[in-house]
C-alpha cells in the first residue's frame, strides 16, 4: 500500500498517525506540493482533484482523509471504528461535523488566509472580514466541541474509547497551534488534545508540522 502525502499537509496527518499507531505496512510517497507536483501528471492522472492524501492499495485508489481512515480501520478490523450501528453512526457524525462545519471556518476563514499568501483575500477589507467570520464561527464550533462532543467527563470525542474521529479531529484542531491559539478557554478540548498527544507516534508524525509551528512563532497572527 502506498500513501501519497506531504508532511505539512494537515489532512495527511490523521492518516499518517493512524497508520503509524497501527503499524500498517505502508510506503509513504511525498508529493511535493511546493513544486506543483500534485497538479501535473503523473499525480494528476492518479487523482484528478490534485490533492493529498491518497492511498493506493494494490490497484485500489482512495482519496479523502475521512474515507481513508474508515477504509484502513475496517481493513485491519480496528476497534477505533466500531461496528455497532449507532456507535459507528456517531463516529461518522463527528467526522462529518468536523469537515462540514468546524474545519471550513477554522482552516479556510481563520488559519489559512493568515498563513498562506495564495489563500489571503484580495483586499484588506475582505481579509479582515474572513478572519472575523473565522474567529466567530471557530469559537462557536469550539464551544460545541468542548461542551457537547467532549463534555467534562469524556476522554474522547465519542466516549471513553479513542476512535478514528479523534485521529481526524485532533490533527485538524491542532492546526490552530500554527497561529498560536490558546485552548485554555476550552478545558475539555485541551484535556482531549493532551490525551491525543500522548499517542506514541504523535511527535514523530508531527515533527515537520511542529517545525512549521516553531518557524512562525514570532508572527503576529490573529487567533480566537
Amino acid at each position: 500500500m502506498k500513501l501519497y502525502m506531504h508532511p505539512v499537509s494537515m489532512t495527511s496527518r490523521p492518516v499518517r498517525l493512524f497508520i503509524a499507531e497501527n503499524k500498517i505496512p505502508v510506503e509513504e510517497v511525498t508529493v511535493d506540493l511546493f513544486t506543483g507536483e500534485h497538479m501535473k501528471p503523473p499525480y494528476s492522472e492518479l487523482n484528478p482533484s490534485c490533492l493529498v492524501p491518497m492511498i493506493e492499495d494494490g490497484g485500489f485508489r482512495l482519496t479523502e482523509s475521512s474515507a481513508i481512515l474508515k477504509y484502513l480501520a475496517d481493513k485491519i478490523g480496528s476497534p477505533a471504528y466500531p461496528k455497532d450501528l449507532k456507535q459507528r453512526a456517531k463516529v461518522n457524525e463527528v467526522m462529518d461535523w468536523i469537515n462540514t462545519n468546524f474545519y471550513r471556518d477554522w482552516a479556510y476563514n481563520l488559519c489559512y488566509p493568515q498563513l498562506f499568501p495564495n489563500q489571503k483575500r484580495r483586499s484588506d477589507e475582505a481579509q479582515a472580514a474572513a478572519i472575523e467570520l473565522g474567529q466567530e464561527n471557530s469559537k462557536r464550533w469550539l464551544k460545541v466541541l468542548n461542551d457537547y462532543f467532549i463534555g467534562s467527563t469524556n476522554q474522547y470525542l465519542c466516549g471513553n474509547e479513542m476512535t478514528i474521529a479523534d485521529y481526524f479531529a485532533a490533527c485538524l484542531v491542532t492546526l490552530g497551534e500554527v497561529i498560536g491559539v490558546d485552548f485554555s478557554a476550552y478545558p475539555n478540548v485541551q484535556r482531549w488534545l493532551n490525551n491525543m498527544k500522548k499517542l506514541p507516534s504523535w511527535n514523530k508524525v508531527n515533527e515537520v508540522f511542529y517545525g512549521l509551528v516553531e518557524s512562525v512563532k514570532q508572527q503576529p497572527f490573529v487567533a480566537i
Binding site: T35, E207, Y210, G211, L212, E214
Partner: protein
C-alpha cells in the same frame, strides 16, 4: 549545560542531533531575535549559534558546531561518534573542516536567498549588484556543490555507509545536517546521497528526525509563502 539555538539553522541542527544521539543532559534556549542583545553579546561577541554554555569552559561558553561536538565527545569519552585513534580522528577532522571551509559556504550561497537569510559581506548576494548578477552567483554556487559532494562519496565514504565507517560520526552529523538545506532549492541529490540521508535518519532515529523536523518545517514554511 545549556544550548542556545536557532531552530531553522542546520549549524544548530548538527549539535542538537549530537546531544540527543549521545544521550547527554542538556537544556535548549531558543534565542531567535536575541543574538544581538547586550546580554548575549557579552557571552558571545561573535553572536553565533549554536552556543554551548557551561561553567566548565574558560569563558563560560563556546560556539562552532564542530568544536562543540568535538569537545562534548572528548569530555564524555564518546569514541562512538569521534574515534580516539589519531589517524581515524584525523579523517573525521579533515571531513569537518572541509565541510565548514568548502561545502557549507557553497551551500550557504546556494540556499540562503531561498531561505531568506542574509549573505556574508563580500558575497555578490550581499552586495548592491543587480538581481541578474545575484541569480548568476547563486547558480554558480549551486553548480559547484557537486564536486565536494562527490569527494565525500568517493574519498571519505569510499563504499562505507558513513564517513565514520559502519556507524555515523560527528562528521556525518555535520554533513547530513548541511545537506538538509538543499531541499530549499529542490537540489537534485544523487541517489547515493539520498540513501545516505535515509541511512543517517534510520541509524539515529528520533535524535536526527526531531531536530531535522525544525529545519524541514522552516523550509516548508518558506516554500508555502510563494504566491
Amino acid at each position: 549545560m545549556k544550548l542556545h539555538v536557532l531552530k531553522p539553522s542546520v549549524n544548530n541542527m548538527a549539535v542538537r542531533v549530537f546531544v540527543r544521539a549521545a544521550n547527554l543532559e542538556f537544556t535548549e534556549d531558543d534565542v531567535y531575535g536575541k543574538t544581538r542583545t547586550p546580554e548575549f553579546l557579552a557571552k558571545n561577541p561573535a553572536h553565533m549559534t549554536p552556543m554551548l554554555e557551561t561553567k566548565e569552559l574558560p569563558k563560560g561558553g563556546m560556539w562552532e558546531s564542530c568544536a562543540i561536538m568535538q569537545y562534548l565527545s572528548n569530555k564524555h569519552d564518546i569514541a562512538k561518534f569521534y574515534p580516539k585513534a589519531p589517524e581515524q580522528r584525523a579523517v573525521i577532522d579533515s571531513a569537518m573542516f572541509y565541510i565548514i571551509g568548502t561545502l557549507y559556504p557553497l551551500v550557504a550561497r546556494a540556499t540562503y536567498p531561498a531561505l531568506g537569510f542574509p549573505q556574508y559581506p563580500g558575497e555578490v548576494g550581499a552586495s548592491d549588484a543587480d538581481a541578474t548578477a545575484k541569480a548568476a552567483a547563486q547558480k554558480a554556487a549551486i553548480a559547484a556543490i557537486a564536486e565536494p559532494l562527490e569527494v565525500f562519496h568517493k574519498f571519505y565514504m569510499d563504499g562505507k555507509p558513513f564517513i565514520g565507517g559502519a556507524t555515523p560520526s560527528i562528521a556525518d552529523i555535520r554533513l547530513a545536517a548541511t545537506l538538509e538545506f538543499l531541499a530549499a532549492i529542490d537540489y537534485s541529490l544523487p541517489s547515493w546521497a539520498k540513501n545516505y540521508m535515509a541511512a543517517m535518519e534510520n541509524s539515529l532515529g528520533k535524535a536526527y528526525s526531531e531536530p531535522a523536523g525544525d529545519v524541514r518545517g522552516y523550509i516548508a514554511y518558506v516554500k508555502s509563502q510563494k504566491k
